[in-house]
C-alpha cells in the first residue's frame, strides 16, 4: 500500500455555473486534504458571475488546478464530460462546485479501495447544509445506512439492498476507480442528473462498493433546488425515467435485479407526484396570499368567506391527490412483503 501511494493519482472533476461564492471554500477543502489530489479540473459552464476571475486566480496559485471554459452554458453533463476527458488519474472524484468535503475524505476512501481491490468505487456519509451553511436535519427515511463501520458491500448484497431498500448510494460522494468508471464516460445526457446515480449503482452491481459511514461530504441544498426540472418539465422527467428503465432492462439487464426495475417506475412516479403536489401547494399559497393581501386593502366579509372556502377546498384537493397517488404508485404486493421481511431481519 505504501509503495503504490505515489502512483495513486486522484483527479477531481466538477462543473461550475455561477457558484463563484462557493469556489474558494470548495477548492481549499480539496487542497488541504491529508492526501492531496493530483489534479483538479473545473469546467466553467459560461458563468455570468465572478466565477471565472476567481478560478483563474486560483489556477495561478495552485498548479493542481486546471480551468476549462465553456463560453456558453451547455449544462452540467456536458461540462463534467469535458472535465473528465482531461482527467489522467487512477481515481476520479466527481463532485459539484457548491458541495464540499471534510478532512480525511481522500485518505479514508483510498484506504478502503486499497483494502478491497475488487471494489469499483467507494462512497461516504453525507450531510446537507443550506446556502447559508445551516445543517439540514436528515430525513429519517433517507438516512438509512448499510453499515455502521467502513465496509465492502459485495454485488450480491447490493442486489438485496436494491430490492428491499431501493437506490442507496448517495450522490456527490462518489469516489471511482477509473477503470470501473470508464465504460460510463462520457456521461450520456439522456438520463439527465440521474446518470451519476445510475453509473454508481451499476458499478456496485458489477464489482461491489465500499462505504464509510463517516460523514465526509457535505451537499448544499437550496429550498428551490428540489428537482426543479421534474416540476417544470414533467415530459422530460418521464422520458428520463423511461431511458433509465431501458438501460436497466436491456444494456445492463444482466446486472439490475428484475424486482427492482419493476418497482422503479412506480417509485419514480411516487417521487415526482410528491414534488408536483409540493410545488403546486407553494404556488397556490402564493396566489392565496395575494388575494388575502388584496382583501386586507379592501376589507369585505364576503370576500373573506370566499377566500376561506377556496383555501379549504384546495387543501382538501391536495390531500386527496397525495393519498390517491401514493396508493396508485404503491410498490407491488411482493415488494411490500419483501420489505417487511427485510425490516424484521429475515431478508
Amino acid at each position: 500500500m505504501t509503495t503504490s501511494m505515489t502512483n495513486e493519482r486522484i483527479s477531481v472533476v466538477f462543473p461550475n455555473y455561477n457558484h463563484g461564492r462557493f469556489l474558494e471554500g470548495m477548492l481549499s477543502a480539496l487542497l488541504t486534504q491529508s492526501v492531496r489530489p493530483y489534479e483538479i479540473i473545473v469546467t466553467d459552464d459560461g458563468s455570468t458571475d465572478d466565477s471565472l476571475t476567481i478560478l483563474r486566480r486560483l489556477e495561478q496559485e495552485h498548479p493542481e488546478i486546471t480551468v476549462l471554459v465553456h463560453e456558453k452554458n451547455q449544462g452540467a453533463v456536458a461540462a463534467v464530460n469535458l472535465a473528465m476527458s482531461h482527467a489522467t488519474g487512477e481515481f476520479i472524484f466527481a463532485t459539484a462546485a457548491d458541495d464540499t468535503i471534510q478532512p480525511g475524505f481522500f485518505e479514508e476512501s483510498l484506504a478502503l479501495l486499497n483494502k478491497h481491490p475488487e471494489a469499483g468505487m467507494s462512497y461516504a456519509g453525507r450531510r446537507s447544509v443550506t446556502e447559508e451553511g445551516i445543517l439540514v436535519q436528515p430525513n429519517p427515511r433517507s438516512s438509512w445506512t448499510p453499515a455502521n463501520e467502513p465496509v465492502y458491500i459485495d454485488p450480491e448484497h447490493v442486489v438485496r439492498i436494491l430490492n428491499n431498500r431501493g437506490l442507496f448510494i448517495l450522490d456527490s460522494t462518489n469516489f471511482y476507480r477509473v477503470d470501473a468508471l470508464e465504460e460510463f464516460v462520457p456521461w450520456s445526457p439522456e438520463l439527465g442528473p440521474f446518470i451519476t446515480s445510475f453509473a454508481a449503482h451499476t458499478i456496485a452491481l458489477q464489482r461491489g462498493v465500499c462505504y464509510t459511514p463517516n460523514v465526509l461530504t457535505e451537499r448544499r441544498v437550496s429550498s428551490t433546488q428540489y428537482s426543479v426540472e421534474a416540476m417544470r418539465d414533467i415530459d422530460g422527467a418521464l422520458v428520463r425515467t423511461d431511458a433509465a428503465i431501458n438501460m436497466m432492462e436491456n444494456d445492463y439487464g444482466h446486472l439490475w435485479p428484475r424486482k427492482f426495475v419493476m418497482n422503479y417506475r412506480r417509485s419514480e412516479a411516487r417521487r415526482i407526484a410528491h414534488l408536483l403536489i409540493t410545488d403546486s401547494t407553494v404556488r397556490q399559497a402564493e396566489t392565496l396570499g395575494r388575494i388575502n393581501a388584496l382583501i386586507g386593502y379592501r376589507p369585505s366579509l364576503l370576500a373573506r368567506f370566499s377566500l376561506l372556502m377556496l383555501r379549504g377546498a384546495l387543501a382538501l384537493n391536495n390531500k386527496l391527490d397525495a393519498v390517491f397517488l401514493k396508493w396508485r404508485f404503491r410498490p407491488t404486493f411482493g415488494a411490500m412483503i419483501d420489505r417487511i421481511r427485510w425490516k424484521l431481519g429475515r431478508g
Binding site: M231, I234, D235, L238, T241, R265, R266, A269, I272, A273, L276, D279, S280, R283, Q284, T287, L288, R290, I291, A293, L294, G296, Y297, R298, S300, L301, L302, A303, F305, S306, L307, M309, L310, G312, A313, L314, L316, N317, L320, D321, F324, L325, R328, F329
Partner: protein
C-alpha cells in the same frame, strides 16, 4: 403633481407659438421596436415638429438606432440618461424639452397609425375648449396581425366633443374610457398636472387624461389610430399582480380624486374606483389561480398515464372537482363583494336587454 390651486403659476410656460405638435418619448431597451415607433411618427401626413427621445440608460443598441434616425431627420432629438432612472422621470425629462402647443406621450414599443396627428390636431383646433383628444387603439401580435381592437365603451360612431358634463356621465356609467397611450394633450391643460406624480405608477397617464377631460372636456375619434404590441402572456408581469403595488397606486389615485381634485371628480367615484381596482386584481389573481390549477392537473394526468392501471384516470378526474368548483364559486363571491355601483349594474342590464 401640482395642487390644483397653484396652477396659475405654471401658466402656458414653455409653449412656443411656432411649434404645433411635440412628441416626447422615454426609451429603455426597446431597441428592436424604436425604429417602428419613430418612423411611424415621421411619416405621418402631418409630421410632428419635434420628437424628443430620452434614452433611459439602455444597455442595448437603442442609442445607435435613435442617433441614426435623428441624423436623417432633424425633428428627432436624443437626450441621454447615463443611468436608468425609471420611466416616469425619463418621460418628465423628455416633456420638459418640448415646446409644442399639442403634446403626445409616445411609448417606444407602440406606434401610431396613419392620420393620427392630422386628425387629432384638427379636432383640437375645432374644439378650442377641449383639453385633449383621444382615439381608439388596436393590438397586434408578433406577426403584425390585428388581434384586438378597443371595444368603444363610448357609444359614438362619429368624432365628438365630450363636455365636462358628458365626461362625468360616461365615467359614472362606463368607468374609465380614455387610453393614455392614444391621447394628445393640449399643453396648457397638461401643464397643470405636471410634473408626473410617480406614486401613480402605471395609472399616471390614465389619471391625468380623465382629470383633464372632466375639467375641460375631451375630443374623441372613434378610429383605431394607434397600435399596441400584444402577444405577451397576460401573466408575464407577476409584479403587476402584487397587491402592494396595485393598492399603493390605487390609494394615491383615490386620494387625489376625493381630495386634491375633489372639485373635478364626481363625488363618491373614488370608492367605486377602489372597488373597481379590487375587482380587477381579484379577477387577475383568480385567472392565474385557475391556470396554475389546470397546469398542475394536466401534469398529474401525464404522470398518472405513465404508469399502467385501470380506471385510474377516471378517479383522478373526479379528484379535481372540489378544487375546480371551489375556484369558480369563490370567484363569483369575490365579484359580488367588489361589485360595481347599482347604477352601473343597472345600465349594463338595460343594455344587455336592449341588445
Amino acid at each position: 403633481m401640482v395642487d390644483g390651486s397653484t396652477r396659475q403659476s405654471w401658466g402656458d410656460e414653455g409653449e412656443d407659438s411656432s411649434t404645433l405638435f411635440s412628441v416626447f418619448m422615454a426609451n429603455y431597451n426597446h431597441g428592436h421596436f424604436i425604429e417602428t415607433a419613430l418612423t411611424a411618427l415621421t411619416t405621418q401626413s402631418l409630421p410632428p415638429d419635434e420628437i424628443i427621445v430620452v434614452d433611459d440608460g439602455s444597455t442595448d443598441d437603442s442609442v445607435e438606432k435613435i442617433s441614426r434616425l435623428s441624423a436623417t431627420n432633424s425633428s428627432i432629438s436624443l437626450i441621454r440618461n447615463e443611468t436608468n432612472q425609471g420611466a416616469i422621470a425619463a418621460s418628465q425629462r423628455a416633456f420638459d424639452a418640448t415646446r409644442g402647443k399639442y403634446v403626445y406621450a409616445a411609448s417606444a414599443d407602440d406606434w401610431v397609425l396613419p392620420g393620427f396627428i392630422e386628425k387629432t390636431v384638427e379636432m383640437l383646433e375645432n374644439n378650442q375648449s377641449a383639453g385633449l383628444c383621444f382615439t381608439l387603439r388596436q393590438e397586434t401580435d408578433t406577426e403584425g396581425n390585428v388581434v384586438l381592437r378597443d371595444r368603444p365603451s363610448v357609444r359614438f360612431d362619429t368624432a365628438a366633443f365630450f363636455s365636462p358634463a358628458d365626461t362625468r356621465r360616461i365615467l359614472l356609467n362606463d368607468g374609465f374610457f380614455i387610453a393614455g397611450t392614444s391621447t394628445v394633450y393640449r399643453r396648457s391643460n397638461l401643464m397643470h398636472y405636471l410634473p408626473w406624480d410617480p406614486e401613480l405608477g402605471a395609472f399616471i397617464d390614465g389619471f391625468v387624461a380623465h382629470t383633464i377631460a372632466l375639467e375641460s372636456g375631451a375630443c374623441f375619434i372613434p378610429e383605431s389610430l394607434m397600435s399596441r404590441r400584444g402577444g405577451g402572456t397576460r401573466f408575464s408581469l407577476r409584479g403587476s399582480n402584487d397587491p402592494d403595488i396595485v393598492f399603493n397606486r390605487t390609494n394615491r389615485a383615490a386620494f387625489l380624486m376625493a381630495d386634491t381634485y375633489g372639485h373635478i371628480w364626481p363625488r363618491g367615484f373614488s370608492e367605486q374606483y377602489r372597488n373597481m381596482a379590487a375587482r380587477d386584481l381579484a379577477m387577475t389573481l383568480f385567472a392565474q389561480q385557475k391556470i396554475e390549477f389546470a397546469e398542475y392537473r394536466s401534469k398529474l394526468k401525464k404522470l398518472n398515464n405513465h404508469v399502467p392501471g385501470r380506471l385510474n384516470g377516471f378517479s383522478l378526474a373526479l379528484l379535481s372537482i372540489p378544487g375546480g368548483l371551489a375556484t369558480r364559486i369563490a370567484q363569483i363571491l369575490l365579484l359580488l363583494a367588489y361589485r360595481p355601483s347599482m347604477r352601473r349594474m343597472w345600465i349594463k342590464l338595460t343594455r344587455i336587454r336592449a341588445a
